[in-house]
Structure formats: C-alpha cells, structure tokens
C-alpha cells in the first residue's frame, strides 16, 4: 500500500520547522520563525484566558499520559498566598524516546518561550528545567539560550514591560530513569533520592516544596507558543477530534531513515514508513512500540492503527511518547524483552516490593530462557510475576515493566517456546546490526559529519 498523500501534505513541521536554518538554537533565528510572538499574544491577555485558550485548543501532555495541559494549569489554586512553580520534565529516559533531546538541542527557545507563557498563566515567578544529566550538548545550549533570554529582557524582572517577573533555573539530573516520574522528579529536585510520592495530594496542590506545581513535558510546553501565535482553531484543525494538534514521532530501529517526523496526531506507522523509505531494504517488520518500551508492543497487524491517544488505546497499547522503535525479522523478541526488563530492574527505585523484587525475578527467568536454559513452566511464571507487578506497584514504572513481557507473550509465545524446546536462541545477533547488510543509505556518513564539524 502507498500513501495517497505526498509527504509534504502528511507532515507538519512546527517545532522542527527552523531546524535546517542557520544556528536555530539562537534567539535571532528563533525570532525569524515567529519566535516570542506567542508570548506577546499571551501577555496581552489575562492569565486565565491563556489557560482557557490552551484548554480549548485541546493540547494534551506529550510526556506519556496525555493529560490535558490547560486543565492541569487550571488546577493550580489562585490567590492562595503560596509561591507557584513550573517544572519542565526534560528527563527523557524511557527507552526509545528521543524527541525532547533533539528538540532542545536544535531549538531551546521554543521551550523557554513556552515556559514564560505557562508561568504567566499559572502565576509563577520561578520555573525549573529538570534535564537528564547525560546530555551535555543540550545542557550547554539550554544554559546559553536562558542567558540570551535574560539579556533580551525575556526573563528576569518586568518581562517586556509587563510587570511580570520570571527566573528559570536549569537543573541537571544525575542518571535515574525514575526521576522522569513527576513526583520522583520533584523529590530529586529537592535534593533527595528520586522516589515517587503518594498521590494525592497531586503536584498541583502540593508539589515542589509542598507548593502548587505544574509538571509538564518539554514538548507539551514547547507546543504552547504556536497555539498562542496561530490560534486554537489552527491547532484543532490538525490531528483528530480528541487528540488535536501536531507532534513529534520518533522513528528508530530497522528503518531506512530513522529520525524525527512531525505530523498531525493520528498518522499511522504505515504512512510514516511509506513516506520515509520503509523498513530497511530486504527486511520485514516484526514488532514495534508505539510509545517507548513501557507501551505494549505492536506487530504488522497494527500498521494502520491511528497514532493518537484513542486509537492506540483502543488497539491495546498506549501512545506514550510516540517512540516508534521498529524491529525486523532478524530480531529475537526474547532478547529485546530481556534487555528492557534488565533496564526496569536496574531503574526500579526500590520503594515498593512488587516492582523491586518482581523485576529482579523477571530478569532471572528471562536471562535463562534467552540462554536456552529455561524450563517448562517458566512462561507461566513470567506471566504470573508480571501480573503481580502490573497494577500493584506504587508507580507506573512497574506497570511499564510488565508491558513488554505480557505483550510479547501474547504475540510471540511460539518464539519463547522455541527457546525452551531448542534450548538455545535461534537468532543470529549479527544479522540485526546496522552494518549487517552494508552501509545503510540513510546512514549519515562522513559527508554529514564533515558538514557539522
């Protein structure tokens, strides 16, 4: 099947539109692309109207859960005499997820403008970016962009003569996936071990320093300025009724052209593959994740699932972070799931027993199955342990750990059984590598590197 529409019509670069311009990370280039026009529009409105506009536009959180952003802002109690905080979640560590980091690297001002608008709306005068530590190039650009914004009067006292003050603190984490969970993030930002908090109270009531706090994903906040600048009707004109707007889909794995594809919500993987050159030449799609490793995996039969919150949910998974990790027929699903499970065991914060102990035992079982040492009953045991984690853990990391196991056993049980029966892994890992079939056409080889050096 081919897409009826050419790529130009299916894709809608908004956040990524300036990335091929000269030094798009600078204020000057950002301004050439409508930069800080959304802020101007926002400052001309009462804060509550800004909240209403974002709510009416239907923007939903891009950090995984899809919660309506405007509604989250509305939950902040006003005139309560307490400081309010905005904390941007830039921890991006869910396996497969790779949108916020390229966005911040290319276009950090999109986030800063969004932060100023959001802070104005919720009446906050100190906002934070919690960036995962392992991405120094992005930290460098964030530091520089914040400094530029201060120098231009976009941050600090009396922003653009509005009487509004805002400080932004850029904070680097130190390596912990769990700090992406919003309450663990807040504990971490308070200088503690990053362990999730009991909710309620939700951060909107008692967040950072027990004050009302909005925690939003990078892409959610960066999507706000275009809504202010171009209007909610424009935004609602993209995407689907319940999942309006544009978003970054991140295609990775065994595809001809991995990368960022900004499109209206509701596009399908088939369309994305069709326009981007497909699965790598000579191979077939085997399984894929719609939104990172924590979202139940899909197969070929799900190629036409609309990639919006409702569509993916109805098909039994979650849109998550739109991290489309594609694996072809050379990939051993047991190996993939084992590695993800090792990740969850490593990243489990240890606070609750089902996740801490359960992920440990899942790894023991999976490693022996992968090594050809599994015994009868192991698959039932896997499902049993996964069931004891899923829905019974303190936070969603536990649920995420169960997802790849349950979904892979649903779609590929025979492959697990083959490992048990043959007492070995039937796959050759060398066949899955990017260099297995020679250099890939999309491979940014020396030419690309020279260009950037």
């Amino acid at each position: 099947m081919t897409s009826a529409e050419p790529a130009e019509k299916l894709l809608t670069p908004v956040l990524s539109a300036s990335w091929d311009d000269a030094r798009p990370w600078t204020l000057a280039t950002y301004r050439r692309h409508q930069g800080y026009q959304g802020l101007k529009a926002a400052l001309a409105m009462p804060p509550d109207d800004v909240i209403a506009l974002v709510k009416d536009a239907g923007l939903r959180g891009r950090g995984g859960a899809g919660f309506p952003t405007g509604m989250k802002w509305q939950f902040i109690p006003q005139n309560d005499g307490k400081p309010h905080y905005l904390v941007v979640n830039a921890d991006e560590s869910e396996p497969g997820t790779c949108k916020d980091i390229p966005l911040l690297f290319a276009n950090p001002h999109a986030l800063i403008e969004g932060m100023i608008i959001a802070s104005y709306a919720i009446r906050c005068d100190h906002a934070f970016v919690y960036l995962r530590g392992e991405v120094v190039p992005v930290l460098r650009r964030l530091h520089a962009a914040v400094a530029e914004a201060y120098a231009a009067g976009l941050l600090g006292r009396d922003i653009l003569g509005s009487g509004i003050d805002l400080d932004i603190t850029v904070h680097a984490g130190a390596g912990a996936y769990i700090c992406g969970e919003e309450t663990a993030l807040l504990d971490s930002l308070e200088g503690r071990r990053g362990q999730p908090r009991l909710r309620p109270p939700f951060p909107a009531i008692a967040g950072l320093y027990a004050c009302p706090t909005v925690v939003n994903n990078v892409e959610s906040i960066a999507s706000v300025p275009p809504i202010l600048a171009r209007g909610k009707e424009w935004f609602k004109g993209l995407g689907t009724e319940k999942s309006p707007g544009f978003t970054l889909y991140s295609l990775s794995g065994h595809v001809t052209n991995p990368g960022q594809y900004e499109a209206p919500l509701g596009i399908t993987l088939r369309q994305l593959l069709d326009l981007s050159g497909g699965v790598r030449a000579g191979h077939r799609l085997k399984f894929w994740t719609p939104g990172g490793s924590s979202t139940p995996m899909f197969t070929e039969e799900h190629l036409d699932v609309p990639l919006d919150y409702e569509g993916v949910g109805a098909a039994g998974s979650m849109l998550g972070t739109k991290a489309l990790q594609v694996f072809d027929e050379t990939t051993c699903v047991v190996r993939a799931v084992t590695r993800w499970t090792e990740f969850y065991a490593h990243e489990s914060c240890g606070k609750c027993t089902p996740c801490r102990e359960g992920t440990y035992w899942l790894v023991q079982l999976l490693e022996r199955i992968e090594a050809g040492e599994g015994v009868e009953g192991d698959l039932e045991k896997l499902l049993d342990i996964a069931d004891n984690i899923n829905g019974k853990s303190f936070c969603a990391l536990g649920d995420g750990a169960a997802s790849p196991i349950v979904s892979s056993l649903q779609h590929f049980r025979a492959e697990y059984e083959q490992h048990l029966a043959e007492r070995r892994c039937p796959f050759d890992p060398a066949a899955s590598t990017v260099w297995a079939d020679g250099p890939r056409p999309g491979h940014p080889s020396a030419t690309e590197r020279e260009v950037h050096a």
Binding site: P95, E134, V136, L251, R280, F327, S432, P439
Partner: protein, 271 residues
C-alpha cells in the same frame, strides 16, 4: 585520600585543603543561590565535587553536607542513588556505550564487546594510563542515531565497532575528536563542572556541530519536498545552510544491490 571503595570510608573524612574548600564554597554559594531552598542544590553540588576529583569522594560528601547542613549519611544516601556519581575515578574520557534494547540490537552489544577486548578492561574500569573508562549505559534519548556512544556525555552517533575502536585509540593518543552532536571534548572533570551548572566558557563551544544530523532533519526535509535516501522523492536538494555534500548522495540505488564501498564506520570521527 580515602574513598568509599570498600563501602567503609574512614570517619570522619578529611576536609579539602583550605584553598580548595574556599574556592568550592564560593561556587557552592552561587549554586545554592539559584534555588528557593538550599537542599535543591545537592545534585549540583555532587556534580561540583565530582568536577574536583573525578569522582564523589568521602571528602566531597563531607563538603556537600557542610554546605547544606546535612549529615554525611543523608548526602551519601543521595549520591549512591544516581548512576552518574562515581565512587571511583573515571578516566579523562568516560566512554558510555548504549546497550539498551534498540542500540544493543543495532550493534551496541558488539561495540561494547569490541571496546572491552580492545582496551583490555571491563565495564566501569579505566585503562592503566587513566585516559579512558568504559561503561554500558541505558537509552540516551538518541535511538534515531543508534548505535550510540557517549564520551563525557557528548554524542557520538551511528557508531560501528571500527569507528568506536578508532575513537578510543584517538582519545588515548591525544588526537582531537569531535562529537557528531556536541562540542570538542573537554575532560571528565570539566564536563562535571558544566553539569554542576557552570556554563561552558570555551568560546564557540555552544555553536559547534549543527542542529542535529540527518535523523533530526529527516521529517523536515521530506516536508520540504526533498528526498531522503531510499525514498522515491522527486527532488534531491542540498540541505539549506549547509555546505554541499562532498559526494553524490546515494539516493536512487536500492540498498541491497549496493556494493560495499567501504567498511562501515571507517569514516573517522575526526572530521
């Protein structure tokens, strides 16, 4: 100087020499001043002491505790929770190979094996000359550039066993290497200082490397009507604001018929 290698640091840890302490205390005060509550500066302070010694020592922990009026036990509890704080010195160049599923499958596992064999060290060890330490790391939010290697947390994208081996050889030989995304490398300690919250002061560092490689721009180029390698686009346009390519983009040839021009990854990282 004592460290926590055996998990039993001598108590109390010796303080920093006075001039080091005074210098770091001034830095610490600046970091603490950025937060409404002092304790929020603990992660930055741990990066700061790591910038001083290349790892978080008992002395560093004591320093953090003193600055924030915490016990050393409280600081230790935090320091040990986060993987970036090292209990032993890293090499001057800390090399992280992503072996989370996607990178592992696409070749990260092979790359990590290759580096261990080539350097004769294992996970979390440092070469005898102190130049290179290696570690397998989790997904670094760069899956569209898999397999990914990080050096001092700068991106070295699209690696192969050959390119990774050349990379560590260059590092050990003191040759300059450039990340595909990021600035020319500084040492592990200088990197830790940036992480603490002190911007990189090297002129031009922020402008090194572009906005991203081909994967970051893939969707945008298609939307502009340009073709990607392997797509049936109608026009092949040199990306704007970039130098024209030095060789013809291999666009039209289907990949499986393509002769192997070069060992993949032979292209150097010193572009």
């Amino acid at each position: 100087m004592t460290n926590v290698e055996l998990g039993l640091p001598a108590l109390p840890a010796p303080p920093y020499p006075e001039e080091v302490r005074a210098r770091l205390a001034a830095d610490a005060a600046e970091l603490i001043g950025r937060y409404p509550q002092a304790r929020s500066a603990l992660l930055p302070l741990l990066h700061l002491v790591q910038a001083e010694e290349g790892f978080v020592s008992a002395t560093g922990i004591r320093f953090c505790a003193e600055q924030l009026d915490l016990t050393t036990a409280e600081v230790t509890a935090v320091a040990t929770f986060y993987t970036m704080y090292r209990r032993r010195p890293a090499g001057k160049y800390h090399v992280g190979v992503c072996t989370n599923t996607l990178c592992a499958v696409l070749g990260g596992d092979r790359i990590f094996e290759e580096l261990q064999e080539h350097l004769g060290i294992r996970n979390n060890e440092t070469t005898e000359d102190g130049t290179v330490s290696i570690e397998h790391i989790e997904c670094n939010a760069a899956c569209d550039y898999a397999p990914v290697v990080m050096v001092n947390w700068e991106f070295f994208d699209d690696q192969t066993p050959q390119s990774a081996r050349k990379l560590v050889d260059d590092l050990r030989a003191g040759r300059e290497v450039r990340p595909t995304r990021g600035a020319r490398l500084c040492g592990f300690k200088e990197t830790a200082r940036i992480l603490a919250g002190f911007p990189d002061e090297r002129p031009g560092a922020n402008d090194e490397s572009g906005a991203g490689g081909a994967p970051s721009l893939a969707g945008l180029r298609l939307a502009r009507g340009e073709a990607l390698p392997g797509t049936p686009g109608t026009r092949v346009v040199s990306p704007r604001h970039e130098e024209p390519r030095h060789e013809e983009p291999r666009v039209e040839e289907p990949r499986h018929e393509e002769p192997r021009h070069e060992e993949p990854g032979q292209e150097g990282t010193e572009a």
